[in-house]
């Protein structure tokens, strides 16, 4: 019996080594909305659900095509942009350590190593809770409680490089989310306005920051915006070109017309590049 096992052993070893040489597919096609294809011997073979893609395969994704691929760890990669690439160069599957055992022992180790301090010895370590209501807890360097907007590029950057999603509501209280942006380090107001389409009064907040006082986004038509801007700029004093631009920017910012404020701050810094005050004011609009 034992001699039989020993005779079989080399065969088993060869089998195992062959298995280890076999290359696993990098992806399995889950969805192809257009004509995304694999290039085989110079010919495009349209991908279909269930097709396997290996690292050495080349794929071609035309315009307006969405290709969803399932990774080996069951996460999904979605590609929407036009490309012609090797599978190896595609966005990598996020490899997360999902092992229950490793997560448990990591927790045990962290718990063992966690230093015990008492409030009497180190009160500061226990002073994270504060008993005061916050007013004006802004996540942007700009005053963004109210924004008047018509068109033009404008990005609101979040403080400390935070990545967040913007949620736009149709009502100040208990409204429905009518638009949700992608998580980013900024909100692109022109893109939001494009999605909202209709001028009107909208309310917004960052996801996870929702409060009783939502921020107001007033999307005006061109005529109404022009009228408001002219009214605001009527108060700006005219002096030197740089200072005039800065004063215009200041009153526009104070009156929540941020697109034009950004334009005039930029103009002021271009006209007087050495002026620190102008640079600081304009920096609020930059990352």
């Amino acid at each position: 019996m034992i001699s039989k096992i020993f005779r079989l052993l080399p065969i088993l070893l060869i089998c195992f080594s062959l298995v280890s040489f076999a290359d696993d597919p990098a992806y399995v096609v889950f969805y192809n909305s257009g004509k995304a294809a694999k290039i085989v011997l110079g010919k495009a073979v349209i991908l279909k659900k269930g097709d396997q893609l290996y690292k050495t395969d080349q794929i071609s994704i035309p315009d307006q095509t969405q290709l969803a691929l399932v990774c080996a760890n069951f996460s999904v990669v979605q590609i929407k942009t036009k490309m012609n690439k090797l599978v190896n160069d595609l966005p990598s599957c996020a490899k997360q350590n999902t092992s229950a055992s490793s997560a448990y022992f990591k927790y045990i180790w962290n718990s063992f190593a966690h230093k015990h301090v008492t409030p009497d010895k180190d009160p500061r370590a226990y002073m994270k809770t504060y008993g005061a209501v916050s007013r004006g807890n802004s996540f942007s360097k700009l005053y963004i409680d109210t924004i008047y907007y018509n068109n033009g590029p404008l990005k609101l950057y979040w403080k400390q490089g935070r990545v967040a999603e913007v949620e736009v509501y149709n009502a100040a209280q208990d409204g429905d989310v009518i638009f949700k942006s992608k998580a980013a380090k900024y909100a692109k107001l022109d893109s939001i306005a494009l999605k909202l389409k209709k001028p009107g009064k909208y309310y917004w907040d960052l996801k996870g920051e929702q409060s009783a006082n939502k921020k107001v986004f007033i999307f005006l038509n061109a005529l109404a915006y022009q009228k408001l801007r002219n009214k605001v700029l009527a108060n700006a004093i005219t002096t030197s070109p740089a200072e005039t631009a800065y004063l215009k920017a200041f009153v526009l910012e104070e009156n929540h017309l941020l697109t034009d404020a950004a334009y005039y701050y930029k103009l002021a810094t271009q006209l007087a590049p050495t002026n620190e005050a102008y640079a600081i004011s304009y920096a609020k609009f930059l990352p």
Binding site: Y107, H116, P119, Y130, G131, A132, V133, R135, G136, Y143
Partner: protein, 386 residues
């Protein structure tokens, strides 16, 4: 029981209990996470039972020295108007329990900036652990205090630090007291406590609350502020509104998941009331608590040894019953001191010693018998159990 009280073995076994406790305390790793009871009750203090079940301070009268102004959803201009209206009535101090984190509207900011920099009765609040600066009016504020409490993050608030030692800055309630009542402020400093236990006496219904918007609309009688400590803060409109709301020992549900029960402004008000009335919670000194623990453990040890030697059949049952009765009784004694005399007795050492006593007795008995055989050590554990 007293038959074995003065036996050498009783004393040594008792000492062994404290040696074991000392040994446990020197283990450099944290094993609490393996204890489900510790995890479940990690934010629980036996003294919370004094509020929740023994109705401590339930009959405290309304504090007429403090008036709360609810700022609600008022903006900065509204808040500035509220402060001006209150200030016109000559209050003792005006504590603004609001964090103004950033710049807002130019008019409101300008009004508040002027008030904070020029009004010596006005006290601002800030978050001492804030990452992005301590607020828009921090620098120009003449008087200010940190609004932070001491406790687990978003846990039950039982303590506060009167003065942060590193920066030597006062807590918000202490800064208010300094302006309103110098005598009691100095008394507080004399105590030299790193942390004080908050003697909660009043829920929101025991303070006079004026709606800020009514105040500026002329619907409230402003004369109520004359010679009072006025705190401007946020008062929740309903139980589900948890903005600036915290867990306190006065929460009816004293353990497990529940809704926070007290707005920050009322916690500050309770602290101010306590300091004004000099109604502090006292702590029994550690040496006294350890002495009590040792004495009680000694008594228990003599009882356990008696049962172990003379009534071994029933020893386990009797020991467990004695441990349960003792635990209930000593927790009751601790609560009674807290409830009646505002004194916190830390009975943890006593309870731990009594609980460990039986197990340590086994070890001691084996060790004493071994010593008896090897070295001729005289011990009461040499004869057969009854």
């Amino acid at each position: 029981m007293f038959k074995y009280l003065f036996k050498r073995d009783t004393l040594f076994a008792t000492l062994a209990v404290f040696l074991v406790m000392g040994f446990f305390s020197f283990i450099p790793i944290n094993t609490h996470f393996l204890d489900p009871i510790h995890l479940a009750l990690s934010d629980f203090d036996y003294n919370d039972l004094a509020y929740a079940k023994m109705h401590k301070n339930e009959n405290s009268p309304t504090d007429t020295n403090i008036v709360i102004v609810n700022v609600g959803q008022g903006n900065r201009q509204d808040i500035a108007a509220m402060i001006a209206t209150v200030d016109a009535q000559s209050p003792k101090a005006i504590g603004v329990d609001i964090l103004f984190n950033d710049k807002k509207d130019a008019i409101g900011d300008s009004l508040l900036s002027t008030l904070f920099s020029s009004n010596k009765k006005l006290i601002g609040a800030y978050n001492i652990n804030a990452q992005g600066g301590r607020g828009y009016f921090y620098k120009q504020s003449t008087n200010k205090g940190f609004a932070n409490f001491v406790g687990q993050e978003e846990g039950v608030i039982r303590h506060f630090t009167p003065v942060e030692k590193k920066e030597q800055v006062p807590a918000f309630a202490v800064a208010v007291l300094k302006v309103a009542d110098v005598k009691n402020y100095e008394e507080l400093l004399k105590r030299k406590q790193t942390t004080e236990i908050i003697n909660y006496k009043r829920k929101a219904d025991k303070y006079l609350i004026i709606d800020g918007m009514d105040l500026i609309a002329g619907k409230a009688v402003p004369s109520v502020f004359a010679n009072k400590i006025v705190l401007l803060g946020y008062v929740s409109s309903n139980v589900n509104d948890v903005e600036d709301k915290h867990f306190t020992p006065m929460n009816e549900k004293y353990t497990g998941r529940s809704l926070p029960d007290m707005n920050g402004v009322f916690i500050h008000a309770n602290i101010i009331s306590m300091m004004q009335d000099q109604d502090y919670i006292h702590r029994m000194p550690a040496w006294l608590m350890w002495s009590i623990a040792f004495l009680l453990c000694w008594l228990h040890m003599s009882l356990f040894i008696k049962d172990y030697l003379e009534n071994h059949l029933w020893f386990h049952l009797l020991a467990k019953i004695a441990q349960i009765i003792s635990a209930v009784f000593f927790v009751y004694i601790g609560l009674l001191f807290f409830h009646q005399f505002d004194t916190q007795m830390n009975m943890v050492a006593t309870l731990a010693a009594i609980i460990l006593a039986v197990d340590v007795l086994y070890f001691y008995e084996a060790f004493a018998t071994w010593l008896h055989k090897k070295k001729g050590y005289k011990t009461i554990f040499t004869h057969k159990h009854d």
